[in-house]
Amino acid sequence: MKSSSLNKLTPYFFIAPAGLVLALGLLYPISYMMYASFLDWNPSQLIGEADWVGLKNYSTLWQDYAFRESLWVTLKFAFSVVLIEMILGLSLALLLDRNMRGMSALRTIFILPMMIAPIVVGLMWRYMYHPSIGVFNRTLNSFGFESIPWLSDSTWALISIIIADIWQWTPFIFILCLAALQSLPRSTLEAARMDGANAWQQAFYIKIPLMMPVLIVTLLLRLIDAFKVLEVILVMTNGGPGLSTEIIALRISRTASEFRELGVAAAMSNYLLILLLLLTLSMFLYNRFIEQHRAKSFNAIGKTSP
């Protein structure tokens, strides 16, 4: 081979190992899942023995009340945790972005929940939510309030897992926001101060708009993660009571292991994947739309009067 053509191929040799890992670790399982979603496949069968049923798994899922309920629970869960976490994380970051004694220690303590294994988080919260010995009910009782059926009432159970998730993942948003805040140009903030912006106005008119790219990526990461959450809820409620906390990841896991319907589970996973892809895509499109819209309106302003 000529050395010039070898030279051209060099970059491909370098990325070949990564490409191989990607193909084996990502593309293969995904295509396997795609294929499996068209099969009526029992775990006792080999994949070759399973019957091809086409889109039947996909269509029956829509008539399945449990699946629709689980999808609804997932949407409620994901959007409420991410919304609350974003607000809390951003507010904390805005509040703690200052040089005070002991601030670095405080920041470290803040991110501790993120470092705990999800199973442990689930266990911890299950004990805290325990109807009689849990710290919440004991505290409520000691102040003379009634006990709350944290995990045994369907409405409260959803609220309880939302609280636990917020506790665990607000720090993630907090540290990303803090990093974004600390990389903002100091002189721009000083200019805002000179222009008479108070702390609120600085946050709303300068800091948050400048942090927007980071906020959007953070939101996306958290949403994707929230749609896939499993372990904490598995340990805390195992989807109950009823289907009130059976998020889709849990439904998939039960369909595969308890109901032994691998094809249906794969179809459900595909629905989740499509949902997340749509979410990501719409966020990027929205972002682009906003930018174009802004440019247009600014042009309009420039033409008439400022």
Partner: protein, 364 residues
């Protein structure tokens, strides 16, 4: 427009004091330039005046009213930052109107003020653009416009031209001088560039290590520097310094060095001279005049060996040596000088500055 007064102004970070008791009066409608090497505290003083840095002790007075504890917005000052500090997510019009919008001015007045300032700075066609779509010079003008729209009585500028390339800097300097005549404001300007200081300032404050070295008009600073530092800092190329001994012969002062002796003008404050007569003399590069061959009779000259000749057009800068001491000479490029030549130069007695070698203070 207010008179701004600093009274024993100090700034310390922990135990390290970086501004040592500044006393200064900046008159009404005056363009004051703070100049000095980096780290001399000039920017800190400006930021204290702006309200971005706290005052450790002392006072800042505006027309007699102490403003040193007020918030920036309460001080009636606007500022232009070195890196412009524009709001990247707002277009030019929004950048300029931010302060007015915060202060809830009526829309009609905001747009009128923006149009006025934009017209003055030539920004009319750029109002809808974002900072990212502007060149360095345009951003600089927007930063200036944002400060002017506020119509504060004093305008603070922190090295506003230092991020521009050399050609644009000279152009903006001229524009600044023109704008300056159109606006009735105190301007307080910080720079490390003595040319900017000389060309723009009504008065210059030369700073060094947190203290004022001299405060005066560009001419005063150039012609009667208070000390060796000011003499060396103001003027380009810088003044030459040489150790010399002053001796009085026949009622005339002569400066003796190892290889030449030159007559010095009569000093009013002879009593300030050290008894040993040991001083530092200073001669500006342009004060050294080549002695033409016909004039060989002139008795007080110094002979310099030309080491390097930097041709810059009509003028040339000679880097020469006298007895191992480097001397800069600014001459007309015609007649030309060759490297390796030994050339005789004379100096008018009035062009020789005398400094106390220990205190570095100028003696006149």
């Amino acid at each position: 427009m207010p008179v701004i007064t600093f009274k024993n102004l100090r700034k310390a970070y922990g135990s390290a004091e970086i501004i040592h008791g500044i006393d200064l009066v900046m008159e009404d409608h005056e363009f004051t330039v703070f100049v000095g090497p980096s780290g001399c505290g000039k920017s800190t003083i400006l930021r204290m005046l702006a309200g971005l840095e706290t005052v450790t002790s002392g006072q800042i007075l505006m027309n007699g009213k102490d403003i040193s504890q007020l918030e920036p917005i309460e001080r009636d000052v606007a500022m232009v930052f070195q890196d412009y500090a524009l709001y990247p997510h707002m277009n030019v019009a929004k950048n300029m109107s931010f302060a007015l919008r915060l202060a809830k001015y009526p829309k009609a007045e905001i747009s009128q003020r923006i149009n006025n300032v934009a017209a003055m700075l030539g920004l009319e066609t750029l109002l809808h653009r974002k900072p990212g779509q502007l060149s360095g010079g345009q951003r600089q003008r927007v930063a200036m416009g944002r400060a002017l729209v506020r119509d504060a009585s004093s305008l603070l500028m922190d090295e506003p031209l230092s991020n521009l390339d050399a050609k644009l800097r000279v152009q903006m300097r001229t524009e600044l001088a023109i704008i300056r005549d159109k606006i009735e404001k105190n301007i307080i300007y910080v720079t490390h560039d003595q040319v900017e200081a000389m060309t723009l300032g009504d008065r210059i404050v030369v700073m060094r290590e947190g203290s004022i070295q001299q405060h005066g008009t560009p001419q005063e600073l150039f012609e009667t520097p208070a000390n060796k530092f000011v003499a060396g800092f103001m003027g380009m190329p810088p003044m030459n310094f040489m150790d010399a001994t002053l001796v009085e012969e026949n009622d005339k002062l002569l400066a003796h060095t190892a290889c030449f002796s030159l007559p010095v003008k009569d000093l009013h404050n002879k009593h300030q001279l050290p008894s040993s007569g040991e001083v530092t003399i200073g001669i500006r590069p342009s004060a050294l005049l080549p002695v033409v061959a016909a004039d060989e009779t002139s008795e007080h000259t110094l002979t310099l060996l030309i080491k390097v000749c930097e041709y810059t057009g009509s003028q040339s800068l000679l880097i020469a040596e006298a007895n191992g001491v480097r001397v800069l000479v600014e001459v007309n490029s015609q007649p030309s000088f060759k490297v390796g030549d030994n050339i005789k130069f004379s100096v008018k007695p009035s062009d020789i500055y005398v400094f106390d070698r220990n205190t570095e203070l100028a003696i006149y």
